[in-house]
Amino acid sequence: MSRKLVSLVVLLLMLLVFALPAASQTSGEMVPTIIVHSVTQAERPIEYETTRLVVENMRELGLEVEHRAIPWAQMIDEIWFSRTVDSAVADRPFQMTHWRMVGRPERSDPDEFTYNLFHSSVRDGGYNFIGYNNPEYDALAEAQRVEVADKEARLDIICEAQTIIRNDMVNAYFIHPLTPQVVNTSAFNPDSITTQAGIGVHNFWTWIGIEPTTDDKTLITSTTSFLNNFNPLEIAGDAPSRVTEMTWDRLMRINPIGVAEPWAAESVEWEDPLNVVVTLRAGMKWHDGEDVQSDDAAYSFEAALAGTTQTDEDGNESFRAEAPDYYPFARNVDSIEIIDDLSLRFTLKTPSAAFETSSLAKLNLLPKHIWEPIINDLLEQDDADVNSIQEEIPIGSGPFKYVAYDVNEFVLLEAFDDHWARPKIDTWLMNVLPNQEATLGQIQSGEMNFLWEWPGDPGVLQQIVDDNEHLDIFSAISIGFNYFAFNVRYAPFDDVTFRQAVAHTIPQEFIIDNIFNGLAAPADSFVSAALEYWRQCDDLPTYDFSIDGARELLASAGYSWDDDGRLLYP
């Protein structure tokens, strides 16, 4: 009851805050030039072309629009570090930008997007760079975390959150990419390939399940992005993350339908919303032959929590984590109790629905005998953390073990014979091949037999598969999505109507057909259609492509046009 009251007050206050800048605009003033950011054509042609198209359409509304295509490094400056007038690194806060979220297994749980993208607490430095500030929404985002036991209750919350976001149109979603992957089906049995919801076929389940049809039991794939590091305590780019996931086991893993299931744990038992008992499988080994035991599992969390508290000149205390990337995923753990060699109990600080997905299925199991000295050493140093660590040959307990790697060149893995789920292939090799022509050449010639990712023109891929009998294309809707983000702090994007009107200028279907060559699914929310469970909601509002509709919408909200056709504020 009181919460509702508070919400109401805050809502009123917020309306005031929103109304103030709006009121400061003299009525009838011309809507200023809008700058829309995207990366350059060289970096990601698809994003560039989409933005170009939308910018053209926006101009039809009587807007002066500039398309600013800059390299990613600069975009960080002009978007991420330019949220408000005061903090802008560039000379002004950003207005509207093309943005994308990529799918990762741990994002199979809606928590991360629901909370991090829109919660007002992460408005200044976190991922809520658009500056969304809605107490009502904040409450929902917090609530879905607490509903551990009642999945349906949580679903309701998630649905409500999606509806709010859709109505408020703070992010104009337009597509979930279909990630196309090409597999050499003369080398592998196509039936043994697993599609993971929202991720695609290049997933852990495929790696351990794929069956070679010949004696050459080697899977060769490539990435166009970077192979920077193989560190169980660091979240690096997409490709190295997928490798660490194969080489370090986790207590639970996200299964192909997006739900966390016990993996290295034989069982995960919730005693109550704050206590969970985890029992390890018996007989697991580290790649160096040592046994995997419960104190290793406990240490894996302790390492993520390790850090020092520092006091600055003003007396403010701050915590410096040694594993800053994983610390957030372990932060909710209050204590860990080792019950015996194979079982242990986690006690949480607050109840968390996402604990299985984003902690048990997220943290890599570390061999304590290797990492304890490293972490202790790091605790002694002020200016180093785990990100400066790279083992010569990393040791994990996953179904694959490292043979060799060369940063930015390749990584070579081998099936770990002592693993209880030994893969059917013997060798797994990933090359770094930024050159797409080369990638295509290799998949056709057989030098490569599993095309992992394809940032280029999907049509070409389709053509290649059509031309080559031994190749098959697999595609799945991604958890990730492409969208236009609006800086809702400032005019004109502080006006819901205006944002909705812009949303009407995005020709979703045309983009899917022409730019993505059909290899994308329409998006209307931050929860992908791939996560079927979390989309069991009432239909979300739609924003059909219609310039006229957009103009009508604007007109009804009091916008007008001058003699030159320029849009004027109400």
Binding site: E49, H67, A69, I70, D457, G459, N514
Partner: protein, 326 residues
């Protein structure tokens, strides 16, 4: 005696003004003329430039379509990967309604390659000529100053040239292009900052030679000031050399712009030939064997760069006759 000579004025029948024409500028003009008269390849280069300059000037008229806007068919969809009409077999994917405009087909998102090619000449010539002008002017001025004044001026300027020689060119442009907004002017700026070095050194040594020549001493003995010596005596003699380096600089600028665009550090709103090749490369034109997309921009680059080389060599042969073919 003066009267006598005045009286003679009529008898010579030559008004003084006629001899005034023997100015350094006229000689310069004649040198230029000689370059193109003597060397047919240089003339060819000049014609190539002239043609491309015209194309660039009238690009919006000559190009049948906007180079960046994808062409749409009747259904409103983009006409992607359309073959040039002269390549397409009957019934193959040639866009209806546009056929005759698709001299070179369309890109993977339906942009008209021919129109891009035409618009590309603008970037090439703009970059080429402005970089060449910058390089030639900076190099000439620095060479003149260093050579003429010598001493610490020379030391400082030549040390600066050493530094410029030590900076890797393409990496420098990449870094510049990455730090500043992508623009074709990055190439021009980087070239202006670095490439004056060759021109400057050569002009300097040439100035040193000319400075020591008797006719310069003669001017000095006649009371000519430093400025007069620089501008009336030395500068005209080295200007052809500036032109030589200028024409080579045009070539380098066009090549460099292409390379930088190819690496993806150029302005995507400015169509250039390098950009087209990059687009083709990224869009896998090679795999698809879309030679109608790959070959024309490369040929255009080659042609303009060669034009620069030919003109440069023309100057070289006039200035350094020893290289002349016998």
């Amino acid at each position: 005696m003066q009267q006598e000579a005045m009286a003679r004025e009529g008898s010579t029948g030559l008004p003084a003004a006629e001899f005034r024409q023997g100015s350094a500028l006229r000689q310069l003009w004649e040198t230029n003329l000689e370059v193109f008269q003597r060397d047919r390849m240089a003339l060819f280069g000049l014609i190539v430039f002239a043609i491309f300059a015209l194309v660039a000037l009238f690009a919006p008229i000559l190009a049948p379509n906007d180079p960046l806007t994808p062409l749409k068919n009747n259904d409103g969809d983009w006409i992607k990967d359309a073959l040039p009409y002269w390549l397409a077999e009957p019934g193959e994917d040639v866009a209806e309604g546009y056929t005759n405009d698709f001299l070179l087909g369309t890109t993977n998102i339906g942009r008209d390659i021919f129109s891009q090619l035409i618009h590309g000449s603008r970037a090439a010539l703009l970059v080429g000529f402005s970089a060449a002008a910058a390089v030639a002017v900076i190099g000439t001025v620095i060479g003149l100053l260093a050579g003429f004044y010598g001493g610490w001026v020379d030391s400082v300027l030549m040390r600066a040239a050493d530094v410029a020689f030590g900076i890797p060119f393409i990496p420098f442009i990449i870094v510049i292009a990455a730090f500043f907004d992508p623009s074709i002017w990055n190439v021009v700026i980087a070239m202006a900052i670095l490439l004056w070095r060759d021109t400057g050194r050569v002009i300097r040594s040439q100035v040193l030679v000319i400075k020591e020549q008797a006719f310069v001493s003669a001017a000095r003995v006649s009371g000519a000031s430093n400025l007069r010596i620089i501008f009336v005596y030395i500068a005209p003699s080295i200007l052809p050399l500036s032109f030589l380096y200028g024409s080579f600089a045009i070539a380098w600028a066009i090549l460099t712009e292409a390379s930088v665009s190819f690496l993806g550090f150029s302005d995507p709103e400015t169509i250039s030939w390098g950009f087209m090749l990059q687009d083709a490369f990224l869009s896998l034109a090679l795999t698809r064997g879309a030679f109608y997309w790959i070959i024309p921009p490369g040929l255009c680059i080659m042609l303009t760069v060669m034009a620069g080389f030919f003109i440069g060599r023309g100057y070289e042969e006039v200035l350094f006759p020893r290289l002349r073919r016998m």
